[in-house]
């Protein structure tokens, strides 16, 4: 099959041809047995490629997808939990350290002192009078 005519024939299968091209193709089909045979082979090839029945991924494909989606959702929940877990551990560590510091530095071991609410003596408090300092 001459390449030009072959291209024209293939073009006719997937797109429009001009009136002139159609005539040239028809003439070649009538007069050239080899060309006709080759064209038939292309048609046979295309017929074989065409899907005749719907394909499938096998039984329970949809169920597998739905299960996967459910698992994905669970996984996301776990990820969120584990993402925040390190912050939770750090926070607990800080609280324990603060409580330990309070215990170490408090005079008396009461719940208030451990939690840092120890009453202060009025005499220990230092007051600063800014206005007085400024006027002096």
């Amino acid at each position: 099959m001459k390449t030009k005519m072959e291209d024209l024939f293939l073009q006719s299968l997937d797109g429009p041809l001009t009136h002139e091209e159609k005539e040239r193709l028809a003439q070649e089909m009538l007069g050239n047995h080899q060309f006709k045979k080759s064209a038939d082979q292309y048609l046979q090839l295309r017929e074989k490629l065409k899907r005749t029945e719907p394909d499938t991924f096998g039984p329970f494909f949809a169920e597998r997808i739905v299960n996967k989606i459910k698992n994905m959702k669970q996984e996301i929940d776990y990820q969120i939990f584990f993402f925040f877990r390190k912050y939770q551990v750090a926070l607990i560590g800080i609280v324990v350290a603060l409580v330990a510091l309070n215990i170490a530095f408090s005079d008396q071991l009461t719940l208030k002192s451990i939690l840092g609410f120890e009453d202060q003596n009025q005499g220990d408090l230092v007051t600063i009078d800014f206005f007085q300092d400024l006027s002096n």
Binding site: S38, P54, I65, I69
Partner: protein, 180 residues
């Protein structure tokens, strides 16, 4: 009982109804399987890619505006993921040479019929040619639809189709002669 439209099923799936999504999967499995198997052949990865197509679709449900039909949207995802898989396969082939070739050579036997040889030759086509041939020749999309799906000009689709068919005919000349 009236058949629920894709749009209704999508709305229900968005509201958390997984049964509605399951109906969508059942409805479009054939189309996706056709595209993916045509692109990747009867391989174990084909189902993985098929699953990935629907998972991606599920994740993008909120963004789906219905500009195109669900089947077209899924076909586009299937083509993209299949192309990614082909690229991965090619990389694997370079790393572990002979991975696929052994399988192909084993099949290249005179006793095989036209259908088997066609599958084999189709698998040898370059990814670009295989994509247009899958959409136009296997799945039956028009040339315009194929061009739109792939985002390429119609002329490119037609030239790739012509080259794909020439390559296939060349590889199958012996078998086609026998049956023509």
């Amino acid at each position: 009982m009236a058949i629920e439209s894709d749009e209704n099923l999508i709305q229900n799936a968005l509201a958390g109804d997984l049964l509605a999504f399951k109906k969508l999967v059942n409805r479009h499995e054939g189309k996706v399987a056709g595209v993916v198997r045509s692109m990747l052949g009867q391989t174990p990865e084909a189902e993985d890619v098929g699953q990935e197509v629907f998972i991606r679709f599920y994740e993008a449900l909120g963004k789906f505006r219905g500009d195109s039909a669900v089947s077209t949207y899924l076909t586009r995802i299937a083509i993209n993921l299949s192309l990614n898989e082909l690229k991965r396969r090619k990389r694997r082939f370079f790393l572990f040479a002979g991975d696929d070739e052994g399988h192909q050579v084993a099949m290249k036997d005179d006793s095989h019929d036209l259908n088997e040889m066609l599958t084999l030759e189709f698998g040898k086509l370059d990814a670009d040619f295989r994509t247009v041939a899958t959409l136009r020749l296997v799945e039956g999309y028009s040339t315009e639809e194929t061009a739109e799906l792939l985002g390429i000009p119609m002329g490119t689709v037609m030239s790739r189709l012509a080259r794909a068919q020439k390559k296939l005919k060349e590889g199958l000349s012996k078998y086609l002669k026998e049956q023509a």
